[in-house]
Symmetry: C2
Subunit: 316 residues, 2 copies
């Protein structure tokens, strides 16, 4: 009697990614001793070919992106990565060696961020490649960052630069120039902003996945505050700046940046700069939270509020 | 600024399923304090419309099936359910009220088996409805049942009856008669065999998801033993028996039963019968494990080994 084909597939591509609790990916479930005295932080994100990534994106970068977007959720909670489960729904038309590249992308992220594969599921689908990942992290009790803690007077801070990823997508689908390749790299390889010790520094956090304006709106709604930011203060890479002012709207509302948006009270700014500097992550103050339910106001170069056709992306 | 459409969708259908750690399904991740002194048991299973369930299966039973197949993995490990994350990829053609029925199915299983929704993801797909669930349970350290512990001389036991679900599928797709509706119910509503205290009783366990012969083969390979069972001893429901001898092969190799297959040494049989009786779960001895790498032998009514066109199902 031979093994069912998914067992050989799993052994070929995924067994080398598995950690000790994964039981060789050969049992009904994984077994994990949670770190004593810590809370677990759990999130799930699915990416679908043609919806969240391009069908001709390199397999390795799809692995990077899948773990990147999930690690970004842990970063937004201030959690430390522990492990993940991976459910893949595979169309019959996808060549087997696609998964060799995909697993290489996962392996690189595992090594960089210190987590291992715990388990998962492999199934066929008549639809597009669908990759669903559940990530586990841990944090000290009560230390996980939430979306609902921003207070009037807190500064609005972002990590890194905003808008590169959506411009990278425009390079791939609309012919925008990308002479250095920086924008496409940012679209394909998110860098989750793990490594800062934000507990006791940030009152609230969210990762910028669906667009800066929309995700800032989530923070406002969950916290019961309003936000005012200045477009001129939103950090842009040289490559994004080169795209010109015509792309400003897009930068502020496009998705896939996976930077962090933080609410930081003025007296914690020195501590923020210390931990960001230690993690070599750039942070920039772009505005301030205030009372009220006015949502997000973005002031343009003339000081007047900008208007957007849409605040961000929805993949639903 | 209005919320993105997936937030209203999540609030409408899933928020009432959420437990305390889910943070109202409104944050980047869930926070869970693991039960002190316990190990976590983690598994993921995806079901795809047209592959694992029929597109016209009632939405409520799809919810029952999705949680049922995942709870069955916990049952096979001897673990107690804790919570789950749910990733749904939704085709645009599916009416919104489908999810009301689906959530009812989940809610019923939550109440029955004592777990809550922790988090997840909602996304669009151009493909079929794809439902991916990651389940968390817990067990005493070292107590989780594995597939690799069966020893020569252990009896081979199964819970419940075998073959109903695959005959139920035949009723729905091939016109097999199902006068009582029992077979279709068994296909659509698996009953995960939680509730027995199998630690110290069973040397190994697996759930019968892909077919009795194939899943018994997994136990043999993982444990390094062979198995011999008698077809006549494999328990069948009255409804399955009524389908006649022509369906014997199908019963032994069809999937979706979600019964447990256990390796139990002779001296632990009284304890097995006690815990199964307390949980009101029928258990039946169908054969014995032995030395060697001969895999699974099924003896027919004439005492000769049966031959099967295939040992079980693969959805890959």
């Amino acid at each position: 009697m031979t093994e069912a084909p998914e067992f050989a597939f799993i052994a070929r591509h995924f067994r080398s990614l598995a950690g000790p609790g994964a039981l060789g990916l050969a049992d009904d479930a994984a077994i994990l001793a949670p770190p004593p005295g810590r809370e677990l932080v759990l999130s799930a994100d699915t990416i679908v070919s043609g919806v969240h990534f391009l069908p001709d994106d390199p397999a390795e970068t799809v692995g990077v992106k899948l773990l990147g977007v999930n690690l970004s959720d842990l970063a937004a909670m201030g959690a430390t990565p522990l492990g993940y489960l991976l459910a893949v729904s595979v169309p019959g038309t996808l060549p087997d060696d696609w998964f060799a590249g995909f697993a290489r992308g996962l392996a690189g992220m595992q090594a960089r961020y210190g987590l291992t594969l715990l388990g998962g599921d492999t199934t066929a689908t008549p639809g597009p490649l669908t990759l669903s990942l559940t990530i586990l992290g841990h944090a000290a009790p009560g230390a996980a960052l939430r979306r609902n803690g921003a207070r009037p007077g807190d500064g609005i801070w972002v990590t890194g630069t905003i808008g590169d990823a959506t411009l990278g997508l425009a390079c791939l689908t609309e012919g925008l120039a990308d002479p250095t390749g920086h924008l496409v790299e940012r679209y394909r390889r998110p860098s989750p902003r793990l490594g800062m010790a934000l507990h006791g520094i940030a009152h609230a956090a969210i990762d910028v996945s669906d667009g800066l304006v929309q995700d800032l709106g989530h923070l406002c709604r969950q916290s019961g505050v309003s936000a005012r930011i200045a477009a001129a203060l939103v950090p842009a890479s040289d490559a994004a700046r080169a795209a010109g002012a015509a792309f400003l709207d897009r930068r502020l509302t496009g998705g896939d940046d996976y930077e962090l948006l933080l609410a930081v009270p003025p007296d914690r700014v020195p501590a923020l700069l210390d931990t960001a500097g230690a993690a070599r992550i750039a942070v920039t103050r772009i505005g301030v939270f205030s009372d009220g339910a006015d949502g997000v106001t973005v002031t343009g170069a003339d000081g007047a509020p900008m208007r957007f056709a849409r605040a961000g992306w929805s993949h639903f």
